[in-house]
């Protein structure tokens, strides 16, 4: 049996993951992508790992502001307040 649309290979799928997650795949490509996932456990794992990467990135805490930088910025802010009449 020959499918109407050629099957997506795993090698192709890994290059489309970001487009898929960004919802920027054309509808037919998206269908091929999702069809492939229904039977390919390995690509499901790949996609799951990509999602785990994104979740972990979202939990990254910002590098904190060094105390010297913070003090310098506060000094700037106080000068500005004095000079601009802000804060009155």
């Amino acid at each position: 049996m020959t499918p109407a649309v050629p099957d997506l290979s795993c090698r192709e799928l890994v290059e489309l993951v970001t487009d898929y997650l960004e919802a920027s795949l054309p509808v037919d490509e998206r269908t091929r992508f999702e069809l492939h996932l229904t039977y390919c456990e390995f690509c499901r794992t790949y996609l799951a790992q990509m999602r785990q990467v994104l979740e972990s990135a979202g939990e990254l805490t910002e590098e904190s502001l060094a105390p010297e930088a913070r003090d310098a910025l506060l000094a700037t802010f106080r000068d500005w307040k004095k000079g601009s009449g802000g804060g009155s």
């Binding site: 970001t18 960004e22 390995f42 910002e62 930088a69 910025l73 700037t76 804060g87």
Partner: protein, 219 residues
Amino acid sequence: MEPPSVSEPAGITTEERELAALRAGDEAAFLALVTRHHGAMVRVATTFVRSQAIAEEVVQETWVGVLRGLHLFEGRSSLKSWIFSILVNCAKARGLKEVRSVPMSSLGPEEEEDAPSVSPDRFRGDEDRWAGHWAEPPAPWPDARVESSELVALVAEALDTLPQAQRTVMSLRDVDGWDSGEVCALLGITEVNQRVLLHRARSKVRAFLEERLGREGLP
């Protein structure tokens, strides 16, 4: 997330509140804003200048510019994008003064070879009935390690290994939660470029984690 405020009239956005507090000279509001954007500002600045130390200086300069221009800000763009546009201007001006500044073209995806996201060796060859399918598939990462803070630490480490433009795009998108339009506008790149940079960055970070976590349970 900010706690819901009880005394605010409806329709006043967080940003309008911040702006009013800043203009009133509220130090706590200023520090909150500085702290929230600091990491992203340093990262964006490092895209244009050569060292972390210079990037930190650019961030300081930016706040001076922001305060000086605060009375001119009309709210046509968001406060965040206004602050970051000042940052980019400061960083570029500074970058031009540097001996070895980063050329703007390095923000394009062409900075790099068109490397595949996963090594071709891991797929079956063309002669195979299942050409292009996994030969060495990824194995799920152990739950215990995914649930620990290990993954987060590994992502941080992986981000540091990325080329500058890729790191900036992935950090803004996935760490700071910016949307693609904001990133494109700030860096002056197209949606397509942005997606290519993001894709390369995320693919490399996944590969880095896979390498570190080991590919256990291969068939």
